[in-house]
């Protein structure tokens, strides 16, 4: 009987020792800047997508900055500014091209952390964004169409389309909200441009020898535009890469790589023309996806500069385990929701997608109405 009793006691002890997993407890509201640091550090630990290739030593970051935040006073404006400086330093090496911190705390609202931009500012080939339509409208044949649209999120989109020398069909947009503009019940210029462009595409004149898609100085936008725009160029799904998502809290918890496709529009025909895409170092996010998808098409060329390097798409905060998150009412972190690998097996995040034919930015030429990148595109197909 004694043996039986002690056996049962041991069983009970073992059964009571089950629960071991835990998520670090983050208080509902921060008691100190140290709590803000903890919430940010854990948010990055759990949500950041690029721990597989990012060389930032996040554990070391914790060891170094935890004691620094511990002595800061959240009521002291000087300490708050110091905290911003620490967040900037600890995030300086983050490779995600989308990554930025927008401060929402009243005393810090003018602060922003954008590591990729900081690195680009120091690059020898850095240049400011340029409004290409100013130079390129001079190349378009008469009858071209241009116009704008203000999105539901109050962003301004500009688009332009026309023919060049009657042998090239040209389309430009500086942001992606094309489907939204096209389907909007508000009268808008972007819809006129799209109607013109799709009409030209569907009734292609035999004189048209190439299609130029210009996404230079395009900050990205709605991912739905990938199928909306490029779905008109293909008749079957176009594989252009792979995505993977976070599937847990661990830094390297990922789903398998899942093929990424551009899906054809209903009744669309495969384009037989060469497609030339123009992009520059301000072609960001969805603009880069457009470049890479076009490059996955046969008979395509990419002319211009290496793109920005924000290839991982972004979606809502809670939909995926990776991606944007907020740190109390102090700041919002904007970061990729998925990791993207191009069809060649390479990840271009933080590096940018390189052109087939690099043509450097030429500010002087553009200011005088000459666009060497567009001219190269026109010379490719005579």
């Amino acid at each position: 009987m004694t043996r039986r009793t002690s056996f049962s006691g041991l069983l009970l002890l073992l059964l009571c020792s089950c629960n071991k997993s835990k998520v670090p407890a983050i208080p509902a509201s921060p008691g100190s800047l140290s709590d803000v640091f903890e919430a940010y550090w854990n948010g990055m630990n759990n949500n950041y997508l690029y721990w597989d290739i990012d060389t930032t030593d996040w554990d070391k970051t914790y060891a170094v900055y935890k004691p620094l935040f511990a002595v800061l006073n959240d009521q002291d404006p000087a300490d708050l500014r110091k905290a911003v400086g620490y967040f900037r330093q600890m995030s300086g090496g983050i490779i995600d091209g989308h990554f930025s911190i927008q401060f929402t705390y009243p005393l810090l609202k003018d602060s922003m952390i954008y590591p990729v931009l900081n690195r680009k500012l120091l690059a020898p080939d850095f240049h400011s964004p340029f409004p290409y339509p100013r130079a390129d409208s001079g190349y378009l044949d008469s009858g071209y169409v241009s116009g704008g649209y203000v999105t539901t999120g109050q962003d301004r989109v500009f688009a332009m389309s026309g023919t060049i020398q009657r042998r090239c069909l040209y389309f430009y947009c500086d942001k992606f909200a094309l489907q939204e503009a096209f389907e909007s019940d508000r009268v808008n210029g972007v819809r006129n441009v799209l109607q013109y462009f799709f009409e030209q595409l569907n009734t292609l004149s035999p004189e048209i020898r190439s299609l130029v898609i210009d996404v230079r100085n395009n900050a990205g936008g709605n991912l739905a535009d990938l199928n909306f725009l490029l779905g008109s160029f293909i008749s079957k799904p176009l594989a252009f890469g792979y995505t993977r998502y976070k599937n847990g809290n661990g830094r390297l918890n990922y789903t398998p790589w899942i093929p990424a496709y551009v899906m054809p529009k209903k009744n669309s025909k495969a384009l037989t023309l060469p497609v030339i895409v123009l992009a520059d170092s301000y072609s960001i996010s969805m603009a880069e996806a457009t470049v890479m998808a076009i490059k996955a098409m046969p008979n395509s060329y990419f002319i211009g500069e290496t793109t920005w390097g924000a290839t991982g798409p972004i979606s809502d905060e809670a939909l995926y385990y990776g991606g944007p998150f907020s740190v109390y009412n102090y700041f919002s972190v904007y970061t990729s929701s998925a990791e993207f690998k191009y069809i060649d097996g390479r990840i271009y995040e933080g590096k940018g997608f390189p052109p087939d034919i690099p043509i450097p930015f030429d500010a002087g030429g553009l200011l005088n109405g000459r666009d060497r990148q567009l001219e190269k595109a026109l010379s490719l197909v005579q």
Partner: protein, 242 residues
């Protein structure tokens, strides 16, 4: 982990070296497993962990210590499956993990004879070593490029995602996957003696892993401990019985 390893293999050695003249039985058992792992995901919105069912298939080597005490060594294959599902507005999204382990449980069994004579009960406890042999990752997740927009009644843009299905072998990553597992096991069963040499049994066991299935930063929210309940039906034959 080193202490688990040394104690476990020490016990295995002791079991089969000592008492060389004891009664030895061997047999097979097979049945189902239900894994409801302990995973740190409480920080994730609209998420639930669902147990997964799989199979268990094992060899039984049982050696008597005394009239009612036995050592049981049970090399076996065991599936430890589970799913993470999204709930509410994200219903339909899930991730299913199917993992097959080779296991070596070592148990101390205590048998209680019933009044009926041929029927007896057992309770048991012990430890196990496991090795994660293979896995498969399945799921449905919103395809971030398979999205379409629509403007809702209050003039806001809504995104509608297509779910994409994946079903891939699990590619082990030595930076993440802890393939060796140590844990404890308790159980109980009912046995029926067909005669002095042959026996049928039905046992249920609970396996609790003491090692996380994930290596990376277990202190920072990625710990994952398997908890498996098995129910198996088996057959034993006494090799050197009286």
């Amino acid at each position: 982990m080193k202490s688990y390893r040394n104690s476990f293999w020490g016990l295995v050695l002791a079991t089969f070296v000592l008492q060389a003249k004891a009664q030895v039985s061997i047999g097979l058992d097979a049945g189902i497993t239900r894994n409801s792992p302990d995973i740190a995901l409480s920080n994730r919105a609209l998420t639930a962990i669902r147990p997964g069912y799989g199979y268990a298939l094992g060899l039984n080597v049982v050696k008597s210590i005394s009239h009612c005490l036995f050592f049981a060594f049970l090399p076996s294959l065991q599936q430890k499956n589970f799913s993470i599902i999204r709930t509410g507005e994200f219903k339909g999204i899930y991730m299913r993990y199917e993992s097959t382990y080779f296991q070596l449980p070592l148990l101390l069994q205590y048998c209680l004879k019933s009044l009926a004579g041929r029927v007896f009960y057992s309770i048991e406890m012990g430890g196990y070593y496991g090795y994660w042999l293979a896995g498969r990752d399945k799921g449905k997740i919103p395809d971030i490029f398979g999205v379409s927009n629509r403007v809702n009644s209050v003039s806001q843009t809504e995104e509608e995602f297509q779910l994409t299905y994946y079903n891939e072998p699990h590619y082990f990553d030595s930076r993440v996957d802890q393939r060796v597992e140590w844990g404890w096991v308790v159980g109980g069963g009912i046995h029926y003696s067909l005669n002095k040499q042959h026996e049928l049994f039905l046992v249920t066991r609970f396996y609790q892993s003491l090692t996380s299935q994930q290596k990376s930063s277990p202190d920072f929210g990625s710990a994952q401990y398997n908890r498996v309940l098995s129910l198996t039906l088996g057959y034993l034959i006494v090799l050197n019985g009286k």
